[in-house]
């Protein structure tokens, strides 16, 4: 594995992990917000 291999691996892992985490939060956010009556969802 030359240097570029490690660099790409790092970047892919970082962006991948952040992307998956963001998607999980958005997904759960949508699921939960259906159970809460609309007036509580007025975000600032």
């Amino acid at each position: 594995m030359n240097q570029w291999g490690y660099v790409i691996a790092c970047w892919v892992i970082v962006i991948g992990v952040l992307g998956v985490y963001a998607a999980i939060i958005i997904g759960r956010g949508r699921a939960l917000s259906r159970q809460v009556p609309p007036e509580d969802r007025r975000w600032m």
Partner: protein, 290 residues
């Protein structure tokens, strides 16, 4: 990240059935969409600068490009840990639910960033030192931070009532920064006892400058925006979870009162028929009614 953008661009009506007059159907809002956009563009820009435009480093060669994501992650991990401690302190002092949830959201995001920092640190270490893990002062303290955060998150998930959980997590959260300081101090002394600070230890080693410094700077800014975006969303998610728990409570009070009124009428009627309250009949009557 791009998948997230298209989802939130969907007209709210499409995603959630009865979302009413443009009320967001998730934890998204106009502000977070802008922030999300900035984060994405920043990331693309960082990729261009970090991977392509900036030159190789004299000593490390291309490996310096790993630092453009590694160092910002480490900085944000420690920032998240600081926010958790501040949030826990304010919660304990002023009982403000808002700060309690900020502490929780920040700790979870902090754990994600610490994990990223460790992985990229190891991947940077492999070609540099020949081994994935070196008991270097900074890497070791980051690992300890990761364990401390896992401990905090474990307390957040204990099967107990919400106030119990929040209070115990706040105490652990409050001690997060002191623990990290003590850990860093002891690990620093411990490692410098054996060899002077390694090349990697003092961060901006081998006088990084010019475009590399700019790339590093962009990395910090972009990761900062990503952190903020995640924090807002994770906070709102925690807020929603709490609302749901809260609603459960109000309904329970209403049911409880309804049950009491129902019983009162029945036992009232029984007393009318048979005035002396100490008659065992009334008691069993009351029992049967339940």
């Amino acid at each position: 990240m791009t998948t997230h953008l298209t989802q939130s661009e969907l007209p709210p009506g499409a995603a959630g059935g009865r979302s009413g007059d443009g009320v967001p159907t998730g934890t998204g809002s106009r502000g977070t969409r802008i922030l999300g956009l900035v984060a994405l563009l920043g990331l693309v820009f960082l990729g261009l600068i970090g991977l392509w435009a900036s030159p190789e480093d004299r000593i490390q060669g291309n490996l310096v490009r790993i630092l453009y994501v590694h160092v910002p992650s480490a900085m944000l991990a420690y920032l998240a840990c600081f926010i958790t401690t501040v949030g826990s302190a304010v919660y304990l002092w002023k009982k403000s639910r808002w700060w309690d949830l900020v502490a929780y959201a920040s700790a979870e995001i902090g754990a994600v960033f610490t994990g990223i920092t460790l992985v990229t640190g190891m991947l940077w270490g492999r070609p540099t030192w020949g081994v994935y893990w070196v008991w270097d002062a900074r890497l070791t303290s980051t690992a300890m931070l990761f364990l401390l955060l896992l401990g905090y998150l474990a307390v957040r998930r204990i099967p107990a009532a919400a106030p119990v959980r929040s209070k115990r997590s706040a105490i652990v959260g409050l001690l997060l920064v002191p623990n990290v300081i003590i850990v860093r101090q002891s690990v620093e002394w411990w490692r410098t006892l054996h060899q002077e600070a390694t090349l990697f230890a003092n961060g901006l080693e081998s006088e990084i400058h010019g475009l590399m410094l700019f790339a590093w700077f962009v990395g910090v800014v972009v990761f900062g925006v990503i952190f903020a975006w995640l924090l807002i969303h994770r906070f709102r998610l925690a807020w929603l979870q709490e609302q749901i728990e809260e609603h459960g409570l109000e309904r329970a009070i209403a049911d409880r009162r309804a049950e009491a009124d129902a019983e009162a009428e029945i036992s009232g009627a029984a007393e009318a028929a048979d005035p002396s309250p100490t008659e065992p009949g009334t008691d069993s009557n009351g029992e049967a009614a339940r």
